[in-house]
């Protein structure tokens, strides 16, 4: 079976909700009806056929050829298979996904991987604010899976994260890992102001000393760490990084002592 391919014909005239175009949501729909699915979010009411040329029929291998910052909610809640976006994606890409792989070969908007629970989301370009983070009013952020951003991430990456791994390779904005409950955030390329702000537990692993930390973080020494060796090897084995991030005895800061204080910020000395 050939990959189910949605080829973008022209820049969309409105924001699009692509959450219906996943294997799970398309499963009960006849192939010939795919073009009739309404995805437009304004009075235009665009249908799939107005925006994309559709080919192929393999629901477990979905490709969006051509991207746009207006393509919102790509692969939302997907559970298996693979989705690939050749180009940019809009807001909430891969939100609440539970399995499978989502690859965005471009930039992603805000709330990419928001609340994801499993699977692997890889963004080759930059990601917007609130990477993996909950929407306003939600309590939990990312709760499992692997989220990789090869470029930069905006502010509040990994906000309220509970479980899983987020790796940002070219720097994150302010308040990375804010309010973390647990889980692991890796940032290479520097962070903005106050990473780990109000984090309870969890690990923020950096490739350099943070330029600012909340004063409620405390210095915790730099003993040899097997955990550092294991996570370094894991990141290299998963092809997330090319060389070790932390080394054998990273510097540790513990915090945020304004809350529970069982989190950590680690970076090589």
């Amino acid at each position: 079976m050939k990959a189910l391919t949605f080829t973008l014909v022209a820049e969309p005239p409105e924001r699009l909700d692509l959450s219906l175009l996943t294997a799970e949501r398309l499963a009960g729909i006849e192939r010939r009806d795919f073009e009739k699915i309404r995805i437009g979010m304004s009075k235009h009411g665009s249908k799939v056929g107005d925006i994309f040329r559709v080919a192929g029929n393999n629901l477990l291998d979905i490709v969006f050829e051509g991207g746009s910052a207006r393509l919102d909610r790509v692969a939302e809640a997907m559970r298996g298979g693979s989705v690939r976006v050749v180009g940019d994606a809009g807001a909430q890409a891969g939100r609440a996904m539970r399995g499978g792989t989502l690859t965005i070969e471009g930039n992603a908007g805000p709330h990419a991987g928001s609340g994801m629970r499993g699977g692997r989301l890889e963004i080759t370009g930059n990601a917007g604010d609130h990477l993996g983070a909950p929407l306003a009013g939600e309590l939990a952020g990312m709760n499992g899976g692997v989220l990789i951003v090869r470029g930069k991430a905006g502010a509040f990456a990994a906000d309220r994260m509970r479980r899983g791994l987020i790796a940002v390779l070219k720097g994150a904005g302010d308040n990375a890992g804010s309010r973390m409950i647990a889980g692991t955030l890796v940032v290479a390329g520097g962070t903005g102001e106050m990473p780990g702000y109000l984090m309870r537990r969890g690990s923020i692993l950096l490739d350099r000393a943070p330029k600012s930390l909340s004063p409620s973080f405390v210095e915790c020494g730099a003993p040899e760490s097997v955990f550092a060796a294991v996570i370094d090897r894991h990141l290299i084995a998963e092809a997330i990084l090319k060389r070790p991030l932390l080394g054998n005895a990273p510097q540790k800061y513990g915090g945020d002592n304004a809350v529970l204080g069982m989190g950590e910020v680690l970076f090589p000395r």
Partner: protein, 302 residues
């Protein structure tokens, strides 16, 4: 079939009889080989026989840094017991007292088995609330604060029900020194076989036993048929040329591992030859009725 002779060494027409056991394995790492071995040797001390130690344990193989999860030197340790509950108890006691305490150590699962045994998921309570749970690539680890940093320990390890305990053979020589040399070359050869351990001191047992005894409460007692000083007094298995017998007892992850270890050990003894080592090789059994696994010596020849 009569006894055969290979390279001048008589091979008895008999067999080793072994039993099904439960087994697990862990990988212990440390900053260097010396301390990886030290932790492994300490936790496998007093683990020669299930009769009195609760389990049988030893180092299976040493691992180079390239073969361990954290890139440090390590040892794969195997532990065997008769039941799952006893195995679990021995594992936690030994890792808790001997590996957690050893400087710079870390502990990983060493077996993917049919079921899981608790490892870090029980030892984490040493952390008294400061322990940290980490899931890395589908594996679950606990980080427990200790005085030289952190003890990293995988949450569980595997259990196999296909393990075999009690594979064995006897090396029989004209002098104690020759018997010891023959047994040593056998142990060295078995050390290279993955998935098999020789749990007695240095891999060698000199007090091979029979079941029961004349005194009440003795589970095992002297195997007088193989004791050279009793050669004239009892119905002895020893000819006039034998003055020392040593036994190699083998536990393996599988039936095949035990057979491979017996083959490797017997091959080494035969290659050593009768002038420097053993003049005869035999094996221990209970008539073939008790053990599920039978290893006929004639099938174990090189």
């Amino acid at each position: 079939m009569p006894n055969v002779s290979v390279n001048g060494i008589v091979i008895d027409d008999t067999f080793a009889e072994a039993f099904g056991m439960r087994a697990t394995a862990i990988i212990i790492t440390a900053p260097n080989r010396k301390w990886a071995r030290q932790a492994a040797i300490t936790m496998t001390g007093f683990a020669t026989s299930v009769i009195g130690c609760g389990c049988e344990a030893a180092i299976d193989v040493e691992l180079p840094p390239s073969a361990t999860p954290d890139g440090r030197p390590g040892c794969r340790v195997m532990i065997f017991a008769m039941g799952t509950d006893e195995l679990q108890k021995q594992l936690l006691n030994r890792v808790g007292q001997c590996v957690l305490t050893s400087p710079g150590s870390a502990c990983f699962a060493g077996l993917e088995g049919s079921a899981a045994l608790k490892l870090g998921s029980a030892l984490r309570y040493f952390g008294d609330g400061w322990q940290i749970s980490k899931k890395i690539g589908g594996r679950h680890f606990w980080r427990v604060p200790v005085m030289d940093g952190e003890f990293l320990c995988e949450a569980t390890t595997g259990l196999t029900k296909a393990a075999v305990g009690g594979g064995n053979f006897f090396v029989m020589a004209e002098t104690s020194a020759r018997a010891l040399l023959a047994a040593e070359v056998a142990v060295a050869a078995i050390g290279l076989v993955p998935g098999a351990i020789v749990p007695f001191p240095g891999g060698i047992a000199r007090s091979g036993s029979k079941i029961g005894g004349k005194y009440k409460g003795m589970i095992a007692s002297a195997n007088e048929a193989y004791a050279p000083t009793l050669r004239g007094v009892v119905r002895s298995e020893l000819g006039a040329d034998i003055n020392a017998v040593l036994e190699i007892v083998i536990d393996g992850e599988t039936n095949d591992a035990v057979a491979a270890a017996m083959k490797a050990g017997i091959k080494a003894v035969i290659e050593l030859g009768p002038k420097r080592g053993a003049v005869r090789i035999s094996a221990g059994n209970y008539g073939g009725k008790l053990g599920k696994f039978i290893y006929s010596l004639k099938d174990m020849l090189p």
